[in-house]
Symmetry: C5
Subunit: 354 residues, 5 copies
């Protein structure tokens, strides 16, 4: 079962900016990688310590600092101090149960969003939180675990594909968000396939298990909506020129991601409607079958119960039962019994039960 | 099953503007036709290559370039270069799973919308994507396959029917969008007919198949909503004088298409409500029938079970059963049995089960 | 079944302003009546031809032209030419499947709305379309058939009741729209009565027919919503001083009609909720009854099946059945059978099945 | 059944301002009371005629005219003339089926709202309409019947409690509306109690009657929503400084009533949700019981039907049935029958049916 | 059952500002504690009387007055007089059934919100009302009972943790509201756990009790929505710079609480959807089981009823029954009976009932 709220959120009443990691520690150690790039070249500095970092001072150099593993509050705090990040932001970075949002601070923008991954083991979608800080000339990302979602972006930086090295750091922020959203399409496609498979099974042999799987998929659709829906607000603010850090020439890219999110939300809603329809279909199919079963029982019972009664009557041991003496009695009784059965069958035919 | 999302959308993380065709290649080759027209005449240039195209330079000449087949990315790219189209637009043209939208660029407007077609083979609605670029003096349309939806527009251009040759190129864009929307009415009408047929069958002989067809129609209504609903936004922006490329005198035409879309959305919602009502009706009919079946079983069983028991009692072989010796015993037992049956029938009558 | 979309809408792709009548031709010939009135007097000119009409030139004279029958496109076109009406408006007048709306043109306002009528034959609501053109000093109405909805307005004009002759032509437009909306109240009241009757029947003897009638009424509520809901937008624009043709002193009257529409929408929504509640009630009643029937069957069967078995046992013909020889065997068996029945009844009583 | 629309609304097409009383005449005669008050004292003038009334001319004197009984159109008309009230307002006062609203006229504000009363006889909520005209220095209320809702306001005027005599007449209007809204809380509380009682019964002994009462309460919640919801709009306009007649210092009081209405709407929605939940609970409980009943039948029948068959077999009268001759045959048959019964019971146990 | 409205709200028609305590008196006596703090130190003054209080006059000293127990109207009134609080506010403080809201007065802001607590006794959520008055340099809170929700804030004041002593009194207001909202997360988490437990039970052994617990949880979700939803509005106004009393530097903290509320609302909606899904799952599981039970009954009955009839036939005592004389008659009958049973079983296999 996907969890809708994080357990162990026990900071009730603590001072804002108190740095407590909320969520599971999914990594052993923290890994920090910085990619420093200009329009001309890009170089990666892996395995850094928080102390090695500092904001870029050359306006032509831009840095992407990728922090993987956020359970170590001291590292996050150290980075926060070096880049002059508000304590509330640091607190939010550490709290992995956050709702996607955009927040503006004096000299940076803070984004929280989710990475989605289909876990083949549990056959369900899991999400991890990404925090992204977009400052003047730098981007810092905080991930919970190593993943390969940002790999293509890393390659584009290395190989100078597209505009990524030529544009300012907000373009990099866009590229990272876009990579995460592209991942959502894979998740959604996977979900579409599972619905399709289920729908075919529903038609061919509706077992009780189908029901449980419809329920499972519905839950996942609810889960996805909770993750994706707030991104609409988050992105719509970026397309409106509200923030100075988003260059006008790059706004169209954020608008493009916004469109993707709108499409994902539409698709998710359609899936929910389809799943509800499937549930109705399943339930009615079950009712129909029951009806079928009942009919068979009723037909057999209503034909045989009266004639069994007649047989019972002539099985009685009364001394004086004149019919028993009649030579053609036995034949007559058979006649009556067959007659009753025929009448019953005719009635059933008329009522279209047969 | 109509697909709600396109499979094989595997561009996750690639650079924006990377041109990859997403969707099935529905055509063998690409066909490009240009219609060059002034207020006085119009001439069609079929079977062009991308290299033959260029934006019109004479303010009195207007061009409609109709590209059919979009799986060949190089053609789309070549046209993009010649008409100075943003890479994001080219990417959107190639991605056939797009949500209808209007997007403004520096010197053109970009529309995506769907063409709907009722496939008689699969008895379901299929959609194809149309991209329309409205520039100053030119319109470029990108279709997935040849279709006859735009044929009337072509004829109006050839025969100078109406205002089409007199007005600027945004009127042509309107005419093309309007032709697609008119097609939706046919689809919706077809759907209305199928609902009507189904409703009659539901009344006359509600078979299990009816259920599956209601489900099928519901899915299609969901599918249509996903296709049509976003056009509301797309068109509403055109009616408000937001874009310079839409002449004030032509805005009323876009408002007209907007009204049609509003009407289609209303109708679709009504269909969904009606289909939900039909499902309820079907389910309750099934319950009612079951009730009927149960009643028959209950009546027959409750009348005959007690009297069969009595017959069974006098079929026992005890040595000392005084009743068996009585000369009127047999008659009396018949009397008791008929009496019990009568009482049962009276009780049933009172409870209105008969 | 009320139709949600008009059949035969086959204009796909035709030029806007192409005049095609869409809908049934409900009349043999077209009837045109003009009422010319000033504050002092009013005179009616029946049976005019389109050629006789022209816009009023005296600012103190106002005209109401009432055209009944719109299947004759040439008449509509002739009027259009004389009053300088936009081709799109003419096209809309001829298309009887239109959504209620207000549209502003250079020198007139165009309204489309529906007249509702309860057809006693089919026991359902039918709608006809009315187009109203409000110009400077004139009002033109286009109706599909003769009806008596506008009769009171005609009388008020003739007898100078109220303000109708003193105010400008927008007051006449108001009076006509108001007359149609007043008609809706009758329809709604009729519907309320039918729901009430149905609800009583549901309580007294819920037959299968009730179900079908609930479904019928639900459909009608959906149908009415589709007709009435868009009038909200249509009228709200009239109350805001957006249009010069609506005099400030008359705006309050349009606000009054707007209130009526809001009330009708509320009532319709309440009806839908009530009908949904009735359906639930019906379905649960059916379930309850089934339960009742099942209980009777179960009680009778579970009491008699075991004791019938016992009777069967002592009906066996084994040579060596010692019980059969016992003189008190028969009595003992009766005792056992009665005992079992008693125990069963006590169990049922405890479980509150009796 | 609460009526959602008033019957006999037969004014279709009549001139606006035509004074017709719509609704039942709930009173024999009309009663008019005027309370004239200044900051220092207040005096009541009961049993006035319409002719005695006139607007106050002294700016320090304020008047509240309370008209009970509105079926007499001539009285309403006479008051209208004296206070210069618009004919549309007079018409609205007489039409008791109005939707709550605020309407601004040149020198007065017109409010319509409902008084709710729980009728112990029919166990349902009934509503009466109140019209309130707030002019400069005077308030006129039109009620359908005598009620005690305004009594506390009357007392506060008499005893100079609170600010009521010190503030301008809009404060009096507030006090009257507030008194009506306070009444709603009693209604809502009563409803909450009935839901609670019903919920307990549902748990303890869910009878068929419970269903009907849930339905009844749902209807009432629909009815209340229709009455209360529009007051939100009505009051929100009063808190925004839109009207000159509402003093700035008194606006906070209207905001307070607005909050109460918001709370009532919330509560009503919660009730509807709870009632829907109760209906689901009831229906599932019924299903569950049926299941229980079916299980008992199935267990008894499937155990006894096979062994009854065996008894039947050895009750046959064939000449040559070797088993019948065996001395231990009878015992063996008993053994087989008990064995079959045991196997059945074990199977049931395994399937958790016992 | 959580109550949706407070009983005994009998102030109908009383003058606004009349101080009546509405709700249960949950405390014996009133306890007033004042914490006076500057940036440097903080001292607590417990067990004060209302007469000891006065607004701070030194701009560097700030006071938090915590009043626990609001049933004593005289205390509330005395405080109201000393701090110049509007009578409407005092009335609202005493009415414990209020909807969360923010209200601006001349020199203070008034907040009402709820504290939520999970009562382990009744296994349900209970709420208590908190009123918070934020003035210039002081905060007054009114609670119904002693609780430990504000304890961490008290400690932060004592130990100068974070910014709490350095910032103005609106920051204290934020800290208190935030502490209450943090509590909501615990409640929501508790609810999530209960849903999870229930879902597992639903899968493993769906008892009738599960149904009642789903219903209980649904009610609680409705209850929570009613408590939490209005806080969205309450807080959104605080983040917009609408009020002078909220310092610009502190607005971001209120925005943070707003985000938390948005997340809680999302989670609550997800829970409601999940619970609805569980109910559907439960109902369908019940139907499925019934189907299973019916099948067993039908199979057993339809196999044995016909062959029992045959046995009955040859148990008849007619003199002339030739079959009885045949030496191989008994064997043939067994053959026929076994044959019928086999045919039945084959039919069932084909229909996939076995």
């Amino acid at each position: 079962m996907p969890q809708f709220i994080h357990k162990g959120r026990k900071r009730a009443g603590s001072s804002p900016g108190t740095l407590i990691h909320i969520g599971e520690a999914k990594m052993d150690s923290v890994s920090i990688t910085a990619i420093v790039y200009t329009a001309e070249n890009a170089e990666a500095h892996p395995r850094l310590r928080a102390e090695d970092l500092r904001p870029p001072d050359d306006p032509h150099r831009r840095v992407w600092i990728d922090v993987v593993g956020i359970h170590d509050t001291s590292t996050v705090e150290a980075i926060g101090t070096r880049f002059d990040i508000h304590p509330l932001t640091l607190e939010d970075i550490l709290d992995t149960g956050h709702r996607p949002k955009t927040e503006e601070f004096d000299d940076y923008l803070y984004f929280v969003f989710k990475m989605l991954r289909f876990d083949e083991m549990t056959h369900s979608v899991v999400s991890e939180q990404v925090s992204l800080i977009l400052g003047n000339g730098f981007v810092i990302t905080f991930q919970e675990v190593h993943g390969d979602v940002f790999t293509p972006v890393r390659e584009r930086l290395a190989k100078a594909k597209g505009l990524i090295r030529k544009r300012s750091s907000d373009y990099l922020a866009y590229a990272l968000i876009d990579a995460a959203v592209d991942q959502y399409f894979n998740i959604m496609e996977k979900m579409g396939e599972r619905i399709e498979v289920l729908e075919e099974e529903l038609t061919d042999h509706p077992e009780a298990d189908v029901l449980r799987r419809i329920h499972h998929l519905k839950r996942e659709a609810i889960y996805l909506r909770k993750r994706i829906w707030p991104m609409r607000d988050m992105l719509s603010r970026l397309t409106k020129g509200e923030f100075d850090l988003i260059q006008e020439e790059n706004r169209i890219y954020f608008a493009d991601v916004y469109d993707h999110i709108a499409q994902l939300i539409d698709t998710n809603e359609s899936y929910r409607d389809v799943l509800t329809g499937m549930l109705d279909l399943y339930m009615t199919t079950v009712s129909n079958r029951m009806n079928q079963v009942m009919k068979v029982l009723t037909i057999v019972a209503t034909i045989f119960i009266p004639i069994t009664f007649i047989a019972g009557v002539y099985g009685m041991n009364f001394k004086h039962m004149p019919e028993l003496e009649w030579p053609w009695g036995y034949g007559a009784v058979w006649g009556v019994m067959v007659g009753i059965a025929m009448v019953m069958i005719i009635i059933f035919k008329r009522n279209r039960w047969l």
